[in-house]
């Protein structure tokens, strides 16, 4: 049977990808951020997951407002990145996964989680920056990726509680798949930040650290918040915590925290990194 062997949370902001493009990792500004990643890379290289399920949000590459799914899952054999308009380099094609992804999609819909199923989708920095961070030098081609995309842009957005339930349903689906696969989950985005309005620049360090603690030990407490609560205490884009909650919902066994880092600001955000091992 497929097993979820662990999970990673990470920021996915474009500035990280641009810093890697320009080889700025060891400059004073970036060093405290990038120096936290080698242990996570080492763990991934040791465990060699077959599949990575990446919870992310599209920022206007694949989806426009004309038809924007609340939840979407990809079932393609390959995903392409593309020009996002403001200068981040595109990355080579991402390998997809076509069996477990359909199993998850089928299980979700049969159990009343009516997710949009995409057989072709361009993936943006929300997905590509984490891949570049975990496997620098575009060395991610051997890993099969299943993208799960959550609307974090336009209200109405799925609630934190609903995103957690989505994760629970995806976790059950993965663990009922009849192939011996090792699966890792990435919860991307966050933590506190606000890009828009006179309140731009808002960061709440205390809240971010509280989120990281609760993601590990008490995620249900975070699911009691509304998106408006998240907006108020975590900034307008603090709702990206929903991707972390979806990831966490899928971890129903025992969790061991292997590594963490918090650094702020990175661009306009608080950047939280967690590596969690998972077993039943």
């Amino acid at each position: 049977m497929a097993k979820i062997i662990g999970a990673v949370t990470t920021s996915h902001i474009p500035a990280i990808g641009m810093a890697m493009d320009n080889k700025l990792e060891q400059t004073p500004y970036w060093k405290p951020f990038f120096d936290a990643y080698p242990p996570v890379r080492a763990w991934l290289n040791e465990k060699k997951p077959d599949v990575v399920v990446i919870f992310y949000n599209d920022h206007g590459l694949e989806f426009f407002l004309d038809r924007k799914p609340t939840f979407a899952i990809g079932t393609a054999a390959q995903y392409l990145n593309a020009d996002e308009g403001w200068g981040i380099n595109t990355i080579p094609p991402v390998t997809g996964e076509t069996e477990l992804s359909w199993h998850i999609a089928t299980d979700l819909v049969e159990n009343e989680f009516d997710i949009t199923i995409c057989q072709e989708m361009r993936v943006d920095h929300g997905l590509t920056v984490p891949l570049s961070l975990m496997w620098p030098g575009h060395a991610y081609g051997h890993v099969k990726v299943i993208p799960v995309c959550i609307n974090c842009e336009r209200y109405p957005m799925p609630t934190p509680a609903r995103c957690f339930k989505l994760g629970q349903a995806i976790g059950r689906a993965i663990e009922s798949f009849d192939q011996d696969l090792n699966v890792v989950l990435f919860g991307t985005g966050g933590l506190s930040h606000q890009l828009d309005g006179e309140r731009a620049g808002f960061i709440n360090r205390e809240f971010d650290i509280d989120c990281m603690n609760k993601i590990v030990t008490a995620p249900e407490e975070l699911t009691k918040l509304s998106n408006y609560d998240l907006m108020e205490i975590g900034g307008a884009q603090g709702v990206e915590l929903n991707m972390w909650l979806a990831m966490r919902g899928a971890l129903t066994g025992n969790i061991t925290e292997l590594h963490r880092n918090y650094h702020a600001p990175i661009s306009n955000t608080g950047a939280g990194l967690l590596l969690l091992e998972h077993e039943h």
């Binding site: 206007g60 407002l65 842009e153 336009r154 808002f202 960061i203 108020e232 306009n268």
Partner: protein, 117 residues
């Protein structure tokens, strides 16, 4: 019943109302994913706005680089970021424009907020 929308000063809650109001504006900014669109905009900004049917207020805010005006007129920050990128502005430049600070002052605020000071 939907939750009551909070009044959070300095925050523009991008919901159905703003999404309707800003549809043409956001559609134009979405087009900036494409390099030929960016070049067409740069060649004649006003004509490019007209091609997408922007309102007078939206067009003025684009021509004036008025980010707060664009948010008020229904711009979504995801697409406005593409407009900003086209102008070679990053998120700290945009933050400074919106808050009325210099870029250095905005960066210092980020540093303080990030440090929990």
């Amino acid at each position: 019943m939907p939750l009551p929308k909070p009044n959070l000063p300095g925050t523009y809650i991008f919901d159905g109302g703003l999404s309707n109001k800003g549809y043409a504006l956001n559609k134009m900014c979405y087009s900036f994913n494409n390099v030929t669109a960016r070049e067409a905009f740069m060649a004649d900004e006003a004509a490019y706005c007209d091609q997408f049917g922007l309102s007078d207020a939206q067009k003025k805010a684009i021509l004036d680089r008025d980010i707060i005006g664009l948010l008020s007129e229904g711009g979504s920050i995801y697409y406005l970021a593409k407009f900003a990128g086209l102008l070679k502005l990053n998120m700290q430049d945009i933050g400074a424009l919106q808050t009325g600070m210099s870029v250095d002052e905005f960066k210092e605020m980020l540093r303080k907020n990030g440090a929990g000071e």
